[in-house]
């Protein structure tokens, strides 16, 4: 189920809130667990078994590691559990493309291809696995105590607000609230507002721009204008889709008495690639830093090793994103190379002027998004060729011209305003009086109502990060 859908807004969420409110405080984890399992199993009940199985494995694994004193044995237990989980993720995510790649090679060699039934990726598996690994590693490191109650642990694991597309909530961040949280009017109000903001980001901007992105990326020879319009639209779509989802997740958590950390911090205002990764998908970037980059040695083993670690970490992060194309791996490597270049550049003592640094960073991020969005390498090359003007087409092409409506232009403009808003907000706030501020603070309510009307009018659009 998705938040921006009629079944969630008209049935699931109100019924869940009623159930949650009337459940005694001590039993609320049970209600949260039941609701979350219904939420997850909604589209495909059999996958719920996989979630339950992974939850049981992680919970049992945590208790086993905690109960073992011999360091060697603890290490073996942790390794086995991580291999099993990563293997499961690898199978579901990469089996198809590996076989496809082998078949392509066999085809070139004139050999018979491998007969293959495509494996469907269970929704949210990437997030579920990362969360499980972080829990097991934290138990192994002794930074968290293993949760003894299966219901409490399963409720944390399945919490529907963040189950499918993050943020990747670590147990450490919510362990207190899993045991004791308040469900009150203040939290509900703040959460409701956040939820409405997220819904507006997703529906008013990301979903409105989606058809333009699809049109631009489906062209055989996109011209310069079309390629850049498509890339810019996707840059906005991806951010507002994912940041919108995160805002809804944070809002739902607040309503239920949890405090999730922020997952985005105005990433398109970044001044460098390092800065971008300090602002984009924070729960993932902090995860890869703490569980991948630092264990690999981070920057503590000399400069060559640092560059290797950077490349390797970003390549794995790219690989984590996608299983239907090698483009994600290339995207990760591109970011790895950019991080290495940025590191070398700043080590040389040189700096770029601030506006130039921001523009250069955003330009690189956008070009990398082209690689990220294209279905395969050939499509990415076509799109990039268009962006570099190799296909001509400095006017909007037929397909986009026919597809572009005022609503798209409005969403575009709104998206750009929202991206640059943090840079100008303080000056505006200083000029606005208290009454204007109070009225301004209420904007999420009408925006949410308009979002609901749009969902009803055009149907639910899945979140982009569901595929990761």
């Amino acid at each position: 189920m998705v938040f921006a859908s009629l079944e969630f807004l008209l049935l699931f969420f109100p019924l869940f809130l009623i159930a949650y409110a009337i459940t005694p405080k001590a039993l609320r984890n049970g209600t949260l667990l039941a609701g979350s399992w219904i939420f997850y199993g909604w589209w495909s009940p059999p996958y719920l078994l996989m979630l339950v199985g992974l939850t049981a494995l992680t919970w049992g694994g945590g208790l086993t590691i905690a109960a073992t004193t011999a360091p060697q044995m603890r290490r073996i237990q942790l390794t086995v559990l991580i291999v099993v989980m990563a293997g499961l993720l690898g199978w579901f995510k990469y089996a198809n493309i590996v076989v496809e790649t082998i078949n392509t090679a066999l085809g070139h060699a004139g050999a018979m291809p491998i007969a293959w039934q495509k494996v469907a990726l269970p929704i949210g598996l990437s997030f579920i696995v990362l969360q499980a690994i972080s829990y097991l590693v934290d138990v192994f490191r002794g930074t968290v105590t293993a949760q003894r109650s299966f219901v409490a642990f399963a409720a944390y694991k399945a919490m529907f607000g963040q189950l499918i597309a993050g943020p990747i909530i670590r147990y450490d961040w919510v362990k207190k609230e899993i045991g004791n949280r308040s469900f009150g009017w203040d939290g509900f109000g703040a959460g409701a507002r956040r939820f409405m903001v997220g819904m507006s980001m997703k529906v008013l901007i990301a979903d409105t721009l989606a058809p333009i992105v699809d049109l631009a990326f489906s062209q055989a020879r996109p011209g310069f204008a079309d390629a850049w319009i498509g890339c810019a639209a996707y840059t906005l779509q991806l951010f507002f889709d994912f940041a919108g989802y995160s805002a809804m997740a944070i809002g739902i958590a607040l309503m239920l008495g949890f405090h999730f950390p922020e997952n985005f911090n105005h990433p398109y205002l970044a001044r460098s690639i390092q800065d971008f990764w300090r602002r984009w998908h924070l729960s993932l970037s902090s995860w890869i830093r703490d569980y991948l980059y630092i264990p690999l040695g981070g920057n503590r083993r000399g400069s060559v090793r640092t560059y290797v670690n950077l490349l390797l970490t970003m390549a794995i992060a790219g690989l984590w994103h996608g299983g239907d194309s090698w483009n994600y791996l290339l995207w990760g490597i591109a970011h790895g190379v950019a991080l290495c270049c940025a590191r070398a550049y700043s080590a040389s003592g040189r700096t770029l002027a601030m506006p130039l640094a921001r523009i250069a960073t955003l330009l690189f991020v956008m070009l990398a998004w082209t690689l990220f969005r294209a279905h395969d390498f050939d499509s990415a090359l076509r799109m990039l060729a268009g962006q570099f003007g190799l296909h001509g087409g400095f006017e909007v092409g037929d397909a986009l011209d026919a597809g572009l409506r005022r609503a798209h232009l409005l969403a575009f403009a709104l998206g750009i305003v929202c991206v640059v808003w943090p840079a100008v907000a303080p000056q505006i706030a200083a000029r606005a009086g208290p009454r204007l501020s109070a009225i301004g603070a209420l904007w999420p309510v009408p925006a949410f109502l308009l979002s609901f009307a749009l969902i009803a009018s055009r149907g639910a659009v899945p979140f982009l990060y569901f595929q990761f």
Binding site: R170, D186, R405, P426, A441, F448, A453
Partner: protein, 392 residues
């Protein structure tokens, strides 16, 4: 292990007091919304105005999520959702003249289907596939003693170029119709491009297409039917029974356009809708045959009468809503002087009507002598999907 923070995020612009006030109001608004949505949905289900499970709940349907998808689709008819969707469309039109994803406005009051204006991805391949399918179907029908002819209706935006104003029709679509027609003609399929018939009307200063509707006017349907009948007659088929109709052109009356409905604006007061239009609605009366013709006709059909199908049409019309609007089927019957069985389907695109007709008892038990297959230009390049374009 610290949670990622947004310490360097821009501070919220509202003062704390305004923020907490807004939070309280937001909470109340969301609660009211959720309560209203749930209450109206449950009431609609209880009073049987909404069926959340239109198909039986089976184990298989539950396990593959089909039942939940059904429910999600059914919820589009929940009172809250329906009202919200209608208001959204109306508000978008009134605020920014937006007609939704499927409709575009050319010159003031002239509406066009967005699908007509730009080529589809891989459209040429789909067009070739369709042409090949038509040729194969014609051959298969021929083996059963049935003739097939195709009538292609050009896009409204191809004909009404003077009414496009700011709208651009892709140049890539220029050869679409000609390409399809020449493929069929080269393969020996009798085919009529109705464009010249419609252009003739235009040369007389008349618009062949309705202003707020995808379809043609009655005069255009009549002109197209005559062009189709001319080619049908050249096939040398003896079609019976012979019948004639008296056509009486009705007075123009208000005609709600399907593009207004598609844009979701038909609920608005007329004064707020795109300018309404009027169209005439003809009536068709079967002319009584004179005595000599009746005697000859009854002798000829004596054998057929034995099985009760003497008066059954020997011409079947399959196709889209073009065959069901502006009396195209009736004009065709009048032009051919023989009854026409109309098996066209609204919204059937390329294969909706043929697939239903070829699988029907009407086709199996009383096959026609001639099938006229009407298809709009815009469906020729649509993606194929899972359809199997062949006789069953």
């Amino acid at each position: 292990m610290t949670a990622p923070s947004a310490a360097n995020a821009a501070p919220p612009i509202e003062p704390p007091k305004a923020r907490s006030l807004a939070a309280r109001w937001s909470g109340a608004a969301l609660l009211a919304f959720l309560a209203g949505g749930l209450a109206t949905t449950v009431t609609a289900v209880v009073t049987q105005r909404l069926d959340l499970l239109p198909h039986a709940l089976t184990r298989a349907a539950f396990l593959d999520g089909a039942s939940m998808r059904d429910m999600a689709q059914a919820l589009a008819n929940a009172p809250f959702a329906r009202v919200a969707a209608e208001r959204e469309r109306e508000l978008s039109w009134l605020a920014i003249s937006d007609l939704g994803p499927q409709v575009r406005e050319g010159c003031p009051g002239w509406l066009f289907l967005a699908e007509e204006l730009a080529p589809q991805v891989d459209g040429d391949r789909y067009l070739r596939d369709r042409a090949r399918a038509v040729v194969e179907i014609q051959a298969a029908l021929r083996q059963r003693g049935i003739r097939l002819m195709v009538a292609v209706v050009p896009d409204k935006s191809r004909i009404e170029t003077q009414r496009l104003c700011e709208l651009d029709r892709s140049l890539a679509l220029e050869g679409r119709l000609r390409g399809f027609v020449s493929r069929l003609a080269a393969a020996g399929v009798p085919v009529v491009d109705t464009t010249p018939a419609l252009k003739t009307l235009q040369d007389r200063g008349e618009d062949p297409f309705l202003r707020t509707d995808t379809h043609w006017t009655e005069n255009a349907a009549d002109a197209a039917a005559r062009a189709v009948a001319d080619v049908a007659r050249s096939l040398g088929l003896e079609l019976s029974p012979q019948q004639n109709w008296d056509v009486v052109r009705g007075m123009p009356a208000r005609r709600p356009g399907d593009l207004v409905r598609l844009a979701g604006l038909d609920g608005l007061p007329l004064s707020l809708q795109p300018v309404p239009e009027e169209a005439s609605d003809s009536s068709f009366t079967l002319r009584k045959p004179d005595a000599a013709v009746a005697a000859a006709s009854s002798a000829a059909s004596a054998e057929a009468e034995l099985f009760g199908d003497a008066d059954l049409p020997q011409v079947a019309l399959i196709g889209t809503s073009f065959s069901r609007t502006s009396h195209f089927a009736e004009f065709l019957a009048a032009a051919l002087q023989t009854p026409v069985g109309n098996f066209a389907k609204d919204g059937g695109n390329f294969w909706g009507s043929p697939s239903a007709y070829f699988a029907s008892d009407a086709f199996r038990q009383t096959p026609p002598k001639l099938i006229v297959w009407e298809m709009p230009e815009r469906v020729l390049q649509l993606p194929r999907g899972q359809e199997r374009w062949a006789l069953p």
